[in-house]
Symmetry: D2
Subunit: 311 residues, 4 copies
């Protein structure tokens, strides 16, 4: 088991949860997906996130899926498990279960019911108490899905109160100023440096976020190699190259990030790439039309052409 | 096991979930609470609702609690179990589990993500498919907690599509016109008559709702005997008497229905009445101040005085 | 002109805006309404609030209505004007216009777009700058209508930053703890004492709020004399009497506070009492059914009977 | 005056409202902006939209600005004016005023208070009644800003009920399926064909929307020539060319569409291009940091390079 720590960099891919056409967990596809991600060069995996259809799984299915992923990863990269829950008893139960299996840490987003600065900070104090001293965790800041707006000051208070919070999954929009301010706070010595991975709009601002000091990305995309290469080019100081790669994938990435049908696009692409056997999404979930699929085909063709041009 | 059906009337009390001071399930208090409700004359019980802190329980705790309630009730009244869930797999799992134990039916509210008429109807078509042909269910219409506004037309479409939906828990506000319209539809023969139990503001409109054709109440209050007596007086044709009883309890009922601290008030009163051993609420949850408790003491004293006057 | 100041106590009634049956401003009814309020013993009036259908008036109609009210009041009590606006230029324009006419101050609620503590405080700093040094103003804290949750700490920061904010219209729920905390802060000398008038649920917690240190009420009700008498009994130290009066009106007050149709109930009652000529509400707005009107008739009869009993 | 009708195609640019550095209306910049848009080849202009800071203007400023725009346009293209308002009296007043000045039509979005299908349809029936038989209007479907989700069925009902609604500003996301369905309805003869202009994410799906049958775009971007050229290439049957142009601008367009600071980016670019004298935004509004400006500079340089490559 590799525990998550604040030195994490690169791409932690938010994985999908593969199902068969009739909606059962597809463990063979799960193995292929893990292999695919590791071959693409990701630094870690994050499972049971929103895009992993976590809430559609039974508790037992969640355990089976996490176990399969951990077995296939076999310690090569850290695996983070989404543990957001409306109550602390289920959060503790899931956390203990997945940490015992070998997960590297958990990720928690605030519930939609907290609003004021003090309510948000108090909530994460309870999260810290629930997870205990030994579980590294990721603070997920994603107002679009949670409805919770955390100011920079609030994020800093949460990080100070919980030394086991080693990573921020930064998805606020506009978020570049916030990213700069949090990074500046650790550089001033106001708090210990944490890893900041970004996911804004599914990585749609990755080059700019890296320039602001992000350590990498934690988000999903059917082409994880894009994010890996953008991060590598940036780390090598080749900023223009990082933008060139990003721009080549941007038209399709934008299409995959459409609210509501994004997951269907992603699973369609992963199935088309041979990663998962079926693009099935559990109900309630979107389905692609023939016109959607034609859009994706055109964008994929164009992407391949553009990638060849800049190769 | 008594299956829930459309002939249900009277008071289905939404119960709390008793905890010990250190937050463990309190099964002895659970038994006392069941006895207390039955002695108060309720026609049924509803467990694992929002006010039952359902989301704060682990799956195993939920099963233990439901089992304890069912054992104590021993078939004397129907027991409905809250089964709202963000995904259908957990909804099916919980439903199968509690029905196998002897529950009489389940209750489902819409998720906050459905908005348009068609989205809401489609959601409940999937609920119907998930629950199957043999599980009677209650449609919970509570916009304040779900954010979902179901028009009368939508409620009627849901009821038509699912013959196993035998009860509407009506909590929309203002809701009297809606109640009248749904009742009128079944009287016109547009759809089979369902039971309509109301919970608007915690029963704060019960006398008026009975006049509009409601069959009773499904809500929580530390004095379930109030709702039982209001329903009985109304059923006996003694409308003014039903108001007299209601009005005597209204000042305290209003205080117990304050958003945010209502559950703490209710558990405080239940503990004060000797029903449950501890007023503990699992985190995150409100706590009463000394000033709150003084308010409650004054209101309780006044309520006793007024009840004596109208006895 | 009497300027609003922090010593304000008693009842500041939120008035309706009377229309004729065909939707025109009804200035004769406006005069009668002013007389009715003053005869009921109110300490002030608040016009162009949410329940005054402010957003349905043209800018010119707003000015005409305010002018009429001010002329009829003739300086006998302070008149506060709602000045919430999505932009500061219209807020400044309306404020300058009504202050020039003789208004005593303005009331401002936050826009639904501000969320974090700092965003809320920054917004009211801009309000302060917009209103200038000479305009006393009321901070309206009404999360149910604005969606903005202001913590006690935030309210205190706003009050410290703006010495011209002389009153808090307190409508948070649950709000008794917040009321106690704000009052305690001024008693500790942390900030200058402001007037706190409450409106929680349309005054549905008035006796308890007075006990916590509220200076009175700023809300609407077709029977303002209830709030005046509750405040007077409380000020005279007769707490039980204040509850007796309150409880006598509570069944009808509760009915008038139903979200969605409350204003229709209020205007119906004001028309029935001969205060306004028509119960008309501008579109979009609710209409009462025959069943609603029967409910109101029963409640009014019962209220009269109960008032006679406790006279 | 040219009245808006259902044959409208091409780009209707949502304009900004230029201010001087001290926040006054900048009429000289307004003239330059009109010239700039017409030179870029737009088919129409839309003023006083959300991105036009409409709510920050006084009623008089709104009239002055509209008058200036109309005078400069001098009938060369239609000008649509945003007329959404919380009440119908102000909506009627603004509409009559701008139509009398020579506007071609108005645009109306639903208020955030309507939720169910019937509520939305009823609202627009009242809009239709308010605008009268002679004012062509645009239905704005923008759930991100309004919170109102209109199903395809609801849009069709609104269009059927109001023959003067000649255009749909389509900004739902995901919205391609909806666009296809509405277009299909008029092709089947279910309703008269209306113009559909899109603005989804600020035009971030324009090539795909044109393929689905959109007639053009109604949105803002500091490079309106992009949208004009994309529409022209598409109309000429050169789909790949339309994508090439779009892709060249996409990295900057994406940056300009960031929620919260998008308008500041747009005004910065318009000022940099010499269109408006100042990038000032009225409070409350965002400001760009030096890092933001560096991002924009890099993206602009890259955009110029890419445009040269595909020229």
């Amino acid at each position: 088991m590799r525990r998550l720590d604040a030195s994490a960099t690169g791409v932690y891919l938010i994985t999908v949860t593969p199902f068969t056409d009739d909606g059962a967990l597809d463990l063979a596809s799960t193995d292929r997906m893990v292999d695919f991600c590791l071959e693409a060069g990701v630094s870690g995996l994050t499972v049971l996130g929103i895009m992993g259809e976590a809430t559609k799984l039974t508790a037992e299915e969640s355990r089976v899926f996490v176990k399969q992923v951990l077995a296939r990863v076999a310690g090569r990269v850290p695996v983070v498990v989404g543990a957001s829950a409306p109550g602390f008893a289920p959060m503790r139960e899931l956390t203990e279960s997945v940490m015992a299996m070998g997960a590297s840490g958990v990720m928690v987003a605030p519930p939609s019911t907290v609003r004021t600065d003090d309510q948000i900070v108090a909530y994460f104090d309870m999260v810290h108490e629930t997870l205990g001293k030994d579980v590294p965790w990721v603070l997920q800041d994603h107002p679009v899905s949670t409805g919770v707006q955390m100011s920079t000051a609030v994020v800093l208070r949460i990080l100070k109160n919980s030394p086991t919070c080693v990573m921020l999954k930064h998805e606020d929009c506009p978020g570049l100023a916030k990213l700069s301010a949090i990074r500046a706070a650790s550089e001033r010595g106001d708090l210990a440096r944490v890893s900041i991975l970004t996911g804004n709009g599914g990585g749609l601002f990755l080059p700019e976020e890296l320039t602001r000091g992000a350590d990498g990305a934690m988000t999903g995309f059917a082409y994880p190699e894009m994010m890996v290469e953008v991060c590598r080019a940036h780390a090598a100081g080749n900023i223009e190259r990082s933008h060139d790669i990003f721009d080549a994938y941007l038209p399709l990435a934008r299409y995959e990030q459409q609210a509501g049908i994004g997951l269907a696009v992603r699973k369609h692409l992963l199935a088309a790439r041979g990663v998962i056997a079926s693009a099935a999404i559990r109900k309630p979930g979107p389905r692609l039309s023939a016109l959607d699929i034609a859009d994706i085909a055109r964008l994929t063709t164009r992407q391949n052409r553009r990638l060849a041009e800049i190769a």
